[in-house]
Symmetry: C2
C-alpha cells in the first residue's frame, strides 16, 4: 500500500499545507442553486454533515441534484430532504422523509447499482457533476484520507469540477489504516483489477485530487448517524439456522469451498443477525473470508472471535456501539479489514473471481424466483437496490433470505408474482426463510414454485399459494400466471 | 498464443495419435439413459450433430439432461427434442418444437445467463455432469481444436466425467486460427483475466482434456444448421438511423470514446441489420472494436470494408452464405477476429473494462424501463436470455433497440408493464425504436415513462400509453401502476 503524501509515512496530523479553511455556510453559498453535488457516504457513515446542514438552512430556492453511492445519514437523508433543497437524487435512501418525498415524486429519485454508479457519473452520462463534498479525517495538498466509508468517492472526486472537504475531527485519524484506494482507469484502456485476495492491498490510504479543484476545507465534529439494529427475532435465528445447514452442505459439495468460503451479507437487522450467528457455525477448519459491501457489528464479533480470516468492504456500517468498538482499536481491526471503493468492493469480476456466496434480503420473492427488493406492492419505493444486484448477479451461489411473513403473519413475503423485479429468476439460486430452504438450482420455473411453496412459504399462506399454482399450471406456458389473481396478493 | 500439441506448430491433420474411433450409435449407446450431457454449440454453430441424431434414434426410454450455453442447431433443437429424449434442458432454444415442449413443460427448461453457465455447471451445483459431447476440427491425445463456436466448452470438458469428440470434416481445419481458449481458474484462487485489448490472445488454439475421459471420437460431415436472417425492414433501417444518431452524439460526449468505441450487438435479424448499417456511420476516425458474444454477417461486411479494428466473440453465428465467406478466407479474418469461451467473451469485468456500448433487442419494454426478452405475455417462453443480461448489466452504455410494434401495428412493444422482467429498470440507459430515441439516463421512473412514450411508442398506441400514465400518476408512488389495466395490454 502507498501511504499518503507528503512524507510517505503515516498521516500524523489533520491538516497538511496551506489549505483554504471555510465555514460550512460559506462553502454552501459557493454551491450553485441548481448544482449537481456528489457526496461521500455509504452504509450511513462517512458522509458529509456540516455542508448539507448549511444547505438545508440556505435561504435560496435550491434545486440540487444529490448523488451518493450508498446510504447517507440524517443530515442529508432527513434535514436536507425536508428542507426541499433536493430536486433529484441518486441512489439510495433510508429515512421515512426521503421515502415519502420519492413516492410523492417531489424528489426525482433514481436507483442505481452500487458497483457502477461511479462510472455512470464519471463516464456514463448519468449527471453533469459540479462539486464533490466528501468527509475526511486528514487532508493535504492534493490528497485526503477518507473516514468510515469509501463508496464511489474516488470516481466522484475525479468527475467533479470542484471539491469541498469536510474534515471531521470526531472520526479517528487511525481510520487511515483501513483504506485501500484503487480506482480503475478510464475505459477502454482500463486494466484488470490486480486483486487476487480479499485481504490484499493494491492502492493507497488516501484519495488524490487535482489541488486546483479544492474550494475549501470545512472543519466539523458531527458524528455519523449510525445504524440501529433490532435484536435478532426468533425468525432471524431460525433463518440463521437454516442458512447454516445449507452452507454446511454446500461446503462439502463444491471444490470451490475446499479450503475457504467467501461470504457476503446484505445490510440490515437480518443481515447483521446472520453475520453474528456465523460464529456458531462449524466451518470445518476452512478459512472464512468476507468479500462484501458492508461490515456490520456481527462481523466484528467474528473478527474478535478470531473466526474471520479477513474482510473486504466499502463501509464500516456499524451501530454507535460498534463504532465505539472499532474506534477504540482501529489498527488491530485494520490487520484484517480493508475498505475499498465500491467499484472494487462490489466489482462483478471480483465477486466472480472469489466464488462468493452472497446472502441478501428483500421485500418479497415470488414462487418462480423473482425478487423485489425495492418497491412495496410494486409501486412504493422503500430504500434502494444498493449493491444487492451486484452480489445477486455475480455470486457463485446466490441466496435470498427473509422471514416468510410480515406483521405477525398477516402478509406473505412469498407471493405468486412480484410486480417489481430487482433480481430476476435467472439470478437467485437458493431461498431461505424461517420455514426452510428451497435450493432451486437446476429447476424449471414450475419446479421452483413447488419447492419454494413447500419449503419456504408461511403455513398461513401455503394452501393459497398451492391453489394458485395448481390453477395456473393448467396453462400451456413456461411461467404460468393469472395476473389479476396475483395482484390480489399485493 | 500457445499452439496445439504435439508439435507446438499449426495443426495439420484431423487426427493425432491412437484415439478410439467409434460410430455415433455406439457413442450414443454408451450414454446412460438419464445422463447429463454437456454439449458444445453457440449461435447455432459448432454443436455436435451425429451423436444427438443417434440419441434421437435410440430405442431406449431416454430422460436426458442436456446443457449447452447458447443456441444449438436442428439436430438437438428439433430432432432430439422431438424424439422425447430430453427431460431437462439449459439454457437457450430456438425452434418451434423446443419452445412448445418448454411451454407444455414436457421439457423442464431453465434459462441461465451465458457468461456464468460454465461456472454454474462446474462449481455451482446446477447439474451433476456426466458426459461432454463437443464438435472439433482436429483432435489428439488430450486436446482438440473446436469448430465454429466456443461457448462454455472448456468448463464443460473439465466438469464432465467422460468426453465424446465429434470430428467434423466439413468444418475447415483453418478455424484453429480463430480460437483463443482461456478458462479462468477455480475460485477463490482464480486470477484476474489478463486481457487488456479485445484483439489480444491470452490462451491456446485448443481445448485440453484429461485423456482418460475420452470415450470416443465420432467422425462426421454434417454441416452447421446456420442462421437465416430476413432482409432488413424499413423499421430495422429506421432503428439503425436512430441508433447511429445516438452513437454519434455519444462519441462526442464521453472521453471514454475519444479514440475508440467498443460495441456489442445482440443476435437476430435486427442485430444483424444494425451491424451491417454500422458501416454507413461516421466514426470520426475512431477505432471501432467489437466486444460481444456473436459475430454475424453484418460484421463480416464491416471487416471486409476495413472499418473494424478487431472483433471478439464466442461464436461465428453466420448464415450459410456468411459461413461460405468465412470458410473461404478463415486465416485473413482471423487476423482481426478472436473467438473466446463465453465466460471470457461475456465476462462482466471485461465488459466493464472496455466501456462497451451494448445494443440488444427484446420482446418488449415498459414505460419505466423494464425489459422482457424471454416470455411473451410474461408466460410463454420464446428463446432464452442468452448473453443479453451480461451486456445489459455491465455495459457502460446499455441500449435496448426494437420496433415499436408487432404485426403491422397490431401489438405495441412499448407497454405499461412487462409481466416478465429479464433486465431491470436499473440496467438499461437508452431505448431506440423506429420512432426515435429515449435516453433515460438520470431520470426518475415517471420521467422515463414520459420520454419513452414521447420518443419511442408507436403512434397507434401513444395516446393509450399517455392515458395510462396520466391516470396512474395520481398515485403517491415512485412507480405508479394499475396492474389490471396493464394486464389488458398483454
Amino acid at each position: 500500500m502507498t501511504r499518503a503524501p507528503p512524507e510517505g509515512g503515516p498521516v500524523e496530523r489533520r491538516l497538511y499545507g496551506d489549505l483554504p479553511l471555510v465555514d460550512a455556510a460559506d462553502a454552501a453559498a459557493g454551491i450553485a442553486a441548481d448544482a449537481t453535488v456528489l457526496t461521500s457516504g455509504f452504509g450511513s457513515v462517512g458522509y458529509p454533515k456540516a455542508v448539507p446542514l448549511a444547505l438545508a438552512e440556505d435561504d435560496r430556492d435550491l434545486e440540487l441534484t444529490v448523488v451518493h453511492s450508498g446510504n447517507v445519514g440524517e443530515e442529508i437523508d432527513v434535514d436536507l430532504v425536508e428542507s426541499g433543497a433536493i430536486a433529484r437524487r441518486f441512489s439510495y435512501q433510508f429515512s421515512s422523509s426521503a421515502r415519502a418525498a420519492s413516492n410523492r415524486r417531489e424528489i426525482a429519485f433514481s436507483d442505481r447499482d452500487a458497483s457502477s454508479l461511479g462510472d455512470e457519473v464519471q463516464y456514463g452520462g448519468l449527471v453533469d457533476p459540479d462539486v464533490a463534498v466528501v468527509e475526511a479525517v486528514a487532508v493535504g495538498e492534493g490528497w485526503f484520507v477518507p473516514s468510515t466509508s469509501l463508496g464511489q468517492v474516488p470516481a466522484f472526486v475525479d468527475a467533479a469540477d470542484e471539491l469541498v472537504v469536510e474534515l471531521n475531527r470526531t472520526q479517528p485519524l487511525e481510520l487511515q489504516a483501513l483504506h485501500d484506494v484503487y480506482r480503475p482507469g478510464k475505459p477502454p484502456d482500463r486494466e484488470p483489477i490486480p486483486l487476487t485476495d480479499p485481504g490484499e492491498r493494491i492502492g493507497t490510504n488516501h484519495v488524490s485530487f487535482d489541488p486546483g479543484k479544492l474550494v475549501g476545507v470545512v472543519e466539523t465534529d458531527i458524528a455519523d448517524s449510525t445504524y440501529t439494529f433490532r435484536d435478532p427475532t426468533d425468525d432471524d435465528l431460525a433463518i440463521a439456522t437454516n442458512l447454516g445447514s445449507f452452507l454446511a452442505a454446500e461446503m462439502e459439495r463444491s471444490p470451490v469451498f475446499d479450503d475457504a468460503i467467501h461470504l457476503q451479507f446484505g445490510v440490515g437487522s437480518l443481515g447483521n443477525a446472520l453475520m453474528g450467528e456465523l460464529k456458531e457455525l462449524d466451518f470445518g477448519g476452512r478459512d472464512v473470508v468476507y468479500f462484501g459491501e458492508l461490515i456490520q457489528d456481527g462481523l466484528l464479533d467474528m473478527l474478535d472471535a478470531g473466526r474471520l480470516e479477513c474482510a473486504s468492504a466499502t463501509s464500516m456500517a456499524l451501530t454507535e456501539a460498534g463504532q465505539e468498538r472499532l474506534f477504540a482499536d482501529v489498527e488491530r481491526y485494520a490487520e484484517e479489514v480493508v475498505l475499498r471503493p465500491a467499484d472494487v468492493a462490489n466489482h462483478p469480476g471480483l465477486i466472480d473471481q472469489f466464488g462468493v456466496v452472497g446472502v441478501n434480503s428483500a421485500i418479497e420473492f415470488d414462487i418462480y424466483g423473482n425478487v423485489n427488493s425495492t418497491h412495496v406492492g410494486g409501486t412504493r419505493m422503500i430504500n434502494g437496490v444498493g449493491g444487492s444486484a451486484d452480489f445477486n448477479r455475480n455470486s457463485l451461489v446466490t441466496v435470498c433470505a427473509l422471514p416468510s411473513s410480515l406483521k405477525g403473519g398477516d402478509v406473505s413475503r412469498v407471493v405468486p408474482m412480484t410486480f417489481h423485479v430487482d433480481h430476476t429468476e435467472h439470478d437467485v439460486d437458493v431461498f431461505v426463510t424461517e420455514q426452510g430452504v428451497a435450493d432451486v438450482r437446476g429447476l424449471s420455473p414450475v419446479e421452483r414454485a413447488e419447492l419454494i411453496i413447500e419449503n419456504c412459504a408461511h403455513p398461513s399462506f401455503a394452501d393459497d399459494l398451492w391453489a394458485y399454482l395448481d390453477d395456473v399450471r393448467e396453462q400451456d406456458s413456461h411461467v404460468p400466471h393469472d395476473v389479476e389473481r396475483a395482484a390480489a396478493w399485493q
